[in-house]
């Protein structure tokens, strides 16, 4: 298995807000290491003067009339909430 180019799995998992086990860190780093070695091929392509493509068709500034549309009813919006009370979503304490 090729070494990960310089994938700092702890740092990336923290950025991605994923609590990984030690076993997962070792396994994913090895698997992604071989993917990264493959991906590093892209360094060989001459991209001088080439514009990036964000998506395939040049659509920008899609405008809509400023007309209010009905949104989700509160009951529908809360239907999938993990915890709720008084029409609000309950979360752990954020500030002391």
């Amino acid at each position: 298995m090729a070494p990960p180019s310089d994938l700092n799995i702890d740092r990336v998992a923290e950025l991605a807000r994923l609590a990984l086990t030690d076993e997962e860190k070792i396994r994913f780093a090895a698997q992604l290491g071989s993917v990264l070695v493959h991906i590093e091929q892209l360094a060989k392509v001459d991209v001088t003067g080439i514009e990036p493509t964000a998506h395939a068709f040049a659509l920008s500034n899609v405008w809509a009339e400023d007309v209010a549309q009905p949104g989700l009813a509160v009951a529908d919006a809360l239907r999938n909430a993990p915890a709720q009370r008084n029409n609000m979503i309950v979360v752990p304490k954020v500030v002391d």
Partner: protein, 488 residues
């Protein structure tokens, strides 16, 4: 021997519904009965709701008896991949993260199918969040290939393909980000169409990689795919990447558009890694078009070797951003172990996501992170420009491209699941199309000696699905692959 209802086409069944020979209730009951028998072996569905399907069928029959039929799909059971919202029904993306989620609204394609009278039948198994090529990444267990139950039906829309191939639906929808409609269609002996990016609204589709995702149909025939596309296509103000374009009557167009066409064979798609039986079947299909007077030209797509790397940077970057919404706060799984807010995010995501989703989130976060953005993400976007340019250059010479859909036929369940890179290499012929935003379809072009279906990929020009379908139709009507069914 007459073909059982559950293996007939939309075109055939809609004619029988129109003439009163069958009712939607009879058809839906036949499909449900088939589903009950087959499902324990195939596992194409995450859930289905028999009472709801029968109620829709009864409503269709009532419309028809009062002369208010809604067209060719009215009363036909259609299955949806479990990433497409149907109001009031479960929507899981085959993830523990959404195991208990119920859709609060309809996707645009769902609204359109309902307006066409379709009987929406079941939510179909797939790889978790549509990430995978075998449906083995489903949190609820893999789907099986109806042609050989020890093999994968492909992925990520494997359930959509397996349900249709086994007679548990008459047509289905999937989504295709890197080949997730075309590869399962090839593995299961079906027609599978990925439309041009922007032709079909993504509103109500669970996002994986937003600049690549497109919804499209699985069908038994090219004509059925044309019927389905005509219903789901069209501009939608709720999807800002939806394109304002005329939607032709595809079903009528494929009967009037006749070749000969100029077809390009990209030499990069016939190199190392191509299974000899697949290669031979595709060469034979190329020979068929030549015998019909089509001009066959070898063309080059020189950046093909970079498609896979470009895709796995762009798709994972977009996925890491899209999947940030699953934070355990407003909906989805919330960890019972979490003590504070950061804990809710980190533990809910750790418990809710499976391995492949975690891997792609990590890769995507890495390629977007400070210090790596230019080297990976920005560079990949530039290479994407070159890949797209390759296709547009080829279309100066030819009308469409002809390639294998997958380098190999359906592989064994478990064969590649421990090696992500080997799994990614299965998508090598399909991902360029998504990066370039083009329409493409897979249609059956033969079987291996072992009895596994082989898929032919036709790649068309942007928003010219009518031509693409017509090229496919010319092949299909001269061959009898569509008359073969798995012996389940």
């Amino acid at each position: 021997m007459s073909v059982p209802l559950h293996f007939q086409t939309v075109a055939e069944l809609s004619a029988q519904l129109a003439s009163g020979k069958i009712s939607s209730c009879e058809l839906t009951r036949a499909v449900l009965a088939r589903t009950r028998v087959i499902e324990p072996q195939v596992h194409a569905f995450n859930s289905f709701d028999e009472a709801d399907s029968l109620a829709q069928a009864a409503a269709s029959d009532a419309r028809r008896t009062t002369g208010r039929s809604l067209g060719p799909l009215d009363g036909i059971p259609v299955g949806l991949k479990d990433v497409i919202s149907v109001a009031g029904q479960p929507l899981t993306a085959s993830s523990k993260m959404l195991a208990n989620f119920v859709s609060p609204y309809d996707a645009t394609v769902t609204e359109k199918l309902k307006a066409a009278g379709a009987v929406l039948h079941g939510r179909l198994n797939c790889d978790e969040f549509a990430m995978g090529s075998s449906t083995e990444n489903s949190a609820f267990g893999p789907a099986h290939n109806p042609w050989d139950l020890t093999r994968t039906p492909g992925g990520s829309s494997g359930g959509s393909a397996a349900a249709l191939a086994s007679g548990s639906a008459i047509a289905t929808l999937g989504s295709d980000t890197g080949g997730s409609i075309r590869q399962p269609a090839a593995f299961c002996g079906l027609v599978g169409l990925k439309p041009t990016y922007g032709l079909v609204s993504r509103y109500g589709l669970i996002a994986y990689a937003s600049s690549l995702d497109q919804i499209g149909p699985f069908a038994r025939t090219v004509e059925d795919a044309a019927i389905m596309l005509g219903i789901i296509a069209g501009h939608d103000p709720r999807d800002s990447t939806s394109f304002k374009t005329q939607v032709p009557d595809y079903r009528a167009e494929i009967k009037t558009r006749r070749g000969p066409w100029k077809l390009g064979v990209p030499k990069e798609y016939f190199g190392a890694g191509l299974d000899p039986e697949v290669g031979a079947a595709v060469e034979k299909a190329v020979g068929f078009y030549k015998s019909q007077g089509c001009e066959i030209r070898e063309v080059s797509l020189p950046h093909t070797q970079y498609c896979l790397d470009t895709y796995y940077i762009i798709a994972t970057a977009e996925a890491s951003s899209n999947l940030a919404r699953y934070d355990g706060i407003r909906y989805g799984h919330r960890s019972k172990e979490a003590k504070d807010v950061l804990d809710v995010y980190q533990k809910s995501r750790a418990e809710g996501f499976g391995d492949e989703v975690k891997r792609r989130i990590i890769l995507g976060t890495y390629v977007l992170s400070s210090g790596y953005y230019d080297a990976f993400y920005l560079r990949a976007q530039k290479v994407r420009t070159l890949i797209r340019r390759d296709f547009l250059n080829a279309y100066r010479e030819v009308d469409a491209l002809i390639t294998p859909t997958s380098p190999i036929p359906a592989f064994k369940l478990g064969e590649k699941s421990a090696d992500p890179l080997a799994m990614y290499l299965c998508d090598v012929y399909t991902i360029g199309v998504n990066l370039a935003g083009l329409p493409a379809l897979s249609l059956p072009c033969g079987f291996t000696a072992g009895g596994l279906p082989i898929g032919l990929q036709l790649i068309g020009q942007p928003f010219r699905e009518a031509d693409l379908l017509a090229v496919a139709q010319a092949y299909e009507e001269a061959h009898e692959w569509k008359l073969k069914y798995p012996a389940l």
